[in-house]
């Protein structure tokens, strides 16, 4: 009769998983932590704006046009007499939806393409690499502008245009990671024990590349937000009366001589948000990839 071995009886050393280790390192980076807190606040504001804004964001003439900040209107009033704070809050929604939505789509497109190209190599890889290089060679903002022009300006089309012009950062990163990971023993072991390709790619290789993927996605969010702001600034973004930080800045620039609060509010909100995502991305990279020292 076989003796049952109790595995859990074998004493194990204290283990720190990659994630708890990364969290410990991230907590020590005060700049990244401040950025994370700011972003949480921003998300809270965006959710709050679903239910409550001080004034209706499209209500015109609630105060004299171009009125400066006051207690009733903390960030002043814009060129059509609309409350700036309310519009800034809705703008936060737009920015976050564009930033996060774009990155989710980029993940859905870039990760599988990168995995397949890196894992199977051969002609698939050559084709993917060629297409990636072609996309790197074209001016992304101009192509996005043309795309929005051809598709018609709407939030969904803006997101599509950004994904079409920016998917290759993620695909290239995942391809590189996969190329390195596929030579490792655990992949060989998986193949030897007959794991199906799908299980190999998404069950074994992708989880091991998750750190760099998260970092890349974090850096992708501000670049998408910036993109949307550019498009809106040029008048090809979200259409009136829905506000976007880019179009608010555009209205503000037109009135910069006599109503500087109109450009300052969206400009500062935009800069702070982009900065926060970049600092958080830097912190995450240091936390998740300790081998790469700066």
């Amino acid at each position: 009769m076989a003796v049952a071995v109790r595995v859990d009886a074998v004493s194990q050393p204290d283990q720190a998983s990659l994630w708890s280790d990364a969290w410990r390192r991230l907590r020590r980076n005060r700049l990244a932590l401040a950025a994370a807190i700011y972003l949480l606040l921003l998300v809270a504001v965006a959710i709050l704006a679903l239910f409550y804004t001080p004034y209706r964001m499209s209500a015109t003439g609630i105060a004299p046009d171009y009125a400066s900040p006051s207690f009733a209107h903390l960030l002043g009033v814009d060129n059509l007499g609309r409350d700036q704070l309310s519009r800034l809050m809705i703008g936060a929604q737009i920015s976050l939806v564009v930033g996060v939505g774009t990155q989710l789509l980029v993940l859905a497109v870039g990760v599988p393409i990168g995995l397949i190209a890196g894992y199977y190599r051969g002609w698939i890889d050559s084709v993917v690499t060629f297409v990636i290089n072609v996309f790197y060679g074209v001016p992304d903002l101009l192509v996005a502008l043309i795309l929005v022009f051809l598709l018609g300006p709407s939030l969904a089309n803006i997101i599509i245009a950004i994904v079409v012009t920016r998917w290759m950062d993620m695909a290239r990163l995942v391809r590189g990671q996969t190329l390195a990971l596929r030579e490792r023993e655990f992949v060989e072991a998986g193949r030897a024990s007959g794991a199906k390709p799908l299980k190999m790619l998404f069950g074994h290789i992708m989880p091991n590349a998750l750190g760099p993927i998260i970092v890349q996605a974090t850096f992708g969010v501000p670049s998408a937000i910036l993109f949307e702001a550019f498009l809106s600034f040029l008048g090809a973004g979200v259409q009136q009366p829905t506000p976007s930080w880019g179009s608010m800045a555009k209205d503000g620039v037109d009135a910069i001589q006599f109503a500087p609060h109109m450009v300052l509010a969206p400009a500062i909100a935009l800069s702070l948000t982009l900065m926060a995502f970049n600092f958080l991305g830097d912190g995450l990279r240091d936390a998740l990839d300790p081998r790469q020292k700066r």
Binding site: L141, L145, G252
Partner: protein, 317 residues
């Protein structure tokens, strides 16, 4: 420096660029012609007038004939047609003139980007882990987090509003660098170049830090060279190679950024025309400007590839 092989390589690349330009303009041409609606719809024309105008713009032909005529005109005479909104304005001379203006502004921005970026990067690396390094590194994150139109707005606010008495608001661009004042170019060039200067600074710092740990730098120190010679001639030149790799994307970034900056500062360049023709639905100008952009991007990438040869004599084509 440029051998016969290099010249052949340049020739091949130029041919390739020409084909790329043709492909890009074809795609935009066909894409735009697939848009629903009528290019002359807003004019509320009737009968014969309308038919004449359609004929004038060759729009009464089937799409493939139009496309054939477009390509033949472009290849044989460099003719991009005529503006739909401002009737009688030929597009090729228009975009060529605007290209000159944009190149002027972009060139200045590039000087800013590379000059500031290298300076900040080198200083941060030779003062690594001092407060100077921390200040410069934080500044560079702030720098590339600020969209160029935000930087431009702040500059306009400071120089055109708060310091109006000092500047008299005369920093706006006037056509022709040599006729105007160089000072008029500084603000747009700075706004255009600063975000990328931050990226150059980060790259330069990282690659300098690697180079100054090399043995040949220790040798240079040991034989008693002055610090400035070591940094400038021995370290920086070798640290430049990774920096050059981002010059291509950087040139594209400056070209793209000019669309916003030229609109903000009222500079009559290609970028302003691009944004305006799109909003005006002046389809033929959109095609023309995009053709120019394709050529510029191709040439910029070629120049970057040739710079490798200048910086690193080991590279040959």
């Amino acid at each position: 420096m440029f051998t016969r092989g290099t010249l052949i390589y340049i020739g091949q690349r130029v041919v390739l660029i020409a084909f790329t330009v043709l492909a890009v303009s074809s795609i935009v041409f066909l894409g735009i012609h697939r848009l629903p609606g009528d290019a002359l719809f807003n004019e509320h024309l009737h009968g014969e007038q309308y038919a004449l105008l359609l004929h004038h713009y060759n729009l009464d032909q089937p799409l493939l004939i139009q496309y054939r005529d477009f390509v033949v005109n472009l290849v044989t005479r460099g003719d991009l047609g005529e503006s739909l909104v401002n009737r009688g304005v030929k597009i090729t001379p228009l975009v060529l003139r605007e290209l000159g203006v944009s190149v002027e502004v972009g060139g200045f921005a590039l000087i800013f980007t590379i000059g500031l970026g290298l300076l900040f990067g080198v200083v941060a690396s030779i003062r690594q882990n001092t407060w100077i390094d921390y200040v410069l590194s934080t500044t560079s994150v702030i720098g590339y987090s600020m969209p160029n139109f935000v930087i431009a707005s702040f500059l306009i606010l400071v120089f055109a509003k708060w310091l109006e008495g000092v500047t008299n608001g005369t920093f706006y661009y006037q056509l022709g660098l040599w006729k105007g004042d160089i000072g008029q170019l500084w603000l747009p060039a700075f706004a255009l170049g600063f975000p990328y200067a931050s990226i150059v600074a980060r790259l330069t710092r990282a690659s300098m830090l690697e180079v100054i740990r090399q043995d040949y730098i220790r040798t240079a120190r040991a034989k008693g060279l002055r610090e400035i010679v070591i940094v400038a001639r021995h370290a920086l030149r070798n640290a430049l190679i990774p920096v050059i790799t981002i010059l291509g994307p950087l040139a594209i970034g400056i070209i793209t950024g000019s669309v916003v900056i030229e609109n903000l500062f009222g500079i009559p360049g290609l970028g302003k025309e691009f944004a305006q023709s799109i909003l005006n639905r002046d389809y033929f100008i959109v095609i023309g400007v995009f053709t120019m952009y394709a050529a510029m991007v191709g040439l910029a990438n070629l120049v970057v590839d040739l710079l490798y040869v200048v910086i690193d004599p080991r590279i040959r084509y």
